[in-house]
Symmetry: C2
Amino acid sequence: MENLSIKPIVPATSLRTLAYEALKSAITNMDIYGAAGDVRLDERGLSQTLGVSRTPIREALTVLEQEGFVRNEPRRGVFVVKKTKREIVGMIQAWAALESMAARLACANAPDEDLACLRRTFPEFFEGQPFDHLDEYSEANIRFHQKIIKLGGCAVIQDLCGNLLVHVRGIRNTALRQGERALESIREHVRIIEALEARDADLAERLVREHGLGLAAHVERYGDHLD
Amino acid sequence: MENLSIKPIVPATSLRTLAYEALKSAITNMDIYGAAGDVRLDERGLSQTLGVSRTPIREALTVLEQEGFVRNEPRRGVFVVKKTKREIVGMIQAWAALESMAARLACANAPDEDLACLRRTFPEFFEGQPFDHLDEYSEANIRFHQKIIKLGGCAVIQDLCGNLLVHVRGIRNTALRQGERALESIREHVRIIEALEARDADLAERLVREHGLGLAAHVERYGDHLD
DNA sequence: GTCTGGCATCTGGTATGCCAGAAACCAGGG
DNA sequence: CCCTGGTTTCTGGCATACCAGATGCCAGAC
């Protein structure tokens, strides 16, 4: 009986979840700022396209509205939210706050081996010249920040940052391509890793915060295309 | 025509919103930890009690699930979430992160008059002996923190903290009643106000963070009744 | 040509019905 | 008495029908 290796069967993801994922990926992948007017999502149209009834669509849209991806005008329709520069900056600031706290908590609580493996996990940061494959680096960049947040060990912070990340992901990538930010960014990452390894909570927190706020300031200066 | 003073009419709050508010207040006001087993919310029962159909109830429950107040087990029912000590501590840590960032931003951006009015808005903090009316003080306490968050001027941080606050409100009140926390708390508030007035961003941030993390540590030590 | 008011139509909000999965219950065998 | 299998009942997931508000169009007045 023991070696039958029965695993719990999948609860067959609900249509609502499927609709949510489909819509979310559609929204995050589209170029919101390319379209001139507002982008409206038609419930009946979506229901027909996805082949399900309006009910799960509506529930998915409710969640997306909660998360700030769409806005619902009663009797008018639901529209994809175009985030303003100010909102993006605010998200990055909130993110900086949470990630710097995660860095502090990591210094206090993360096990030694987890801190030690940072350096091994991101060898790119110590090799210089990532410009030949900026896309890869951009991915490593995001993984790095998620790793720090995870090391903090606080599930609430991880959740909140997860939501913020989806909103800001695109921005972060484009910001990297402007000026010398990529090089600066890497240097800052290295210093953050060193601070974590030394378990210097104050320093790690400060570096992470300044790194995040630097991005916020950058968007504040050069992000006028968002409005 | 100009002096008719026509104001936009109210869009007659949707049933979904009404159901949401009813359920949320019911959940936050109930004593979750008194009940032994899980508390289940029956869709049909709620629908009959509130006098609306199941649809708005379901949509309200979806939002509440997003916000972490209820948990939905497919085909089983939706249950009121009992937060563990660990989760509460995590929320307070996240809150501390966000509020300390708000304090920093307030030092940088808030207008002088807003910072100056802090001292006037919370005279209780400068008078000592608030123990005769601990409930009032507890309210002032919460208003104080919300004020700081508002002074930060970051809408994202305000939103996130708003959600966290509802979850933690009860805890904060009971924590005040344990030991000498109220007196300490007031002293810390005064120092925070002074730092803000001096626009000392580093100090204000640190004080707010330590104030919040102090509460987290307190719950960590004495919050075993939550599990 | 422009403006206005009514009408056709579309869209989201709500109510309801049906179905499958889950729990509770019950009867029969050991 | 316990265990087991089936059956009943209940619950939530989904589909659909209907209603009211919003929009757009068009005819008629000027």
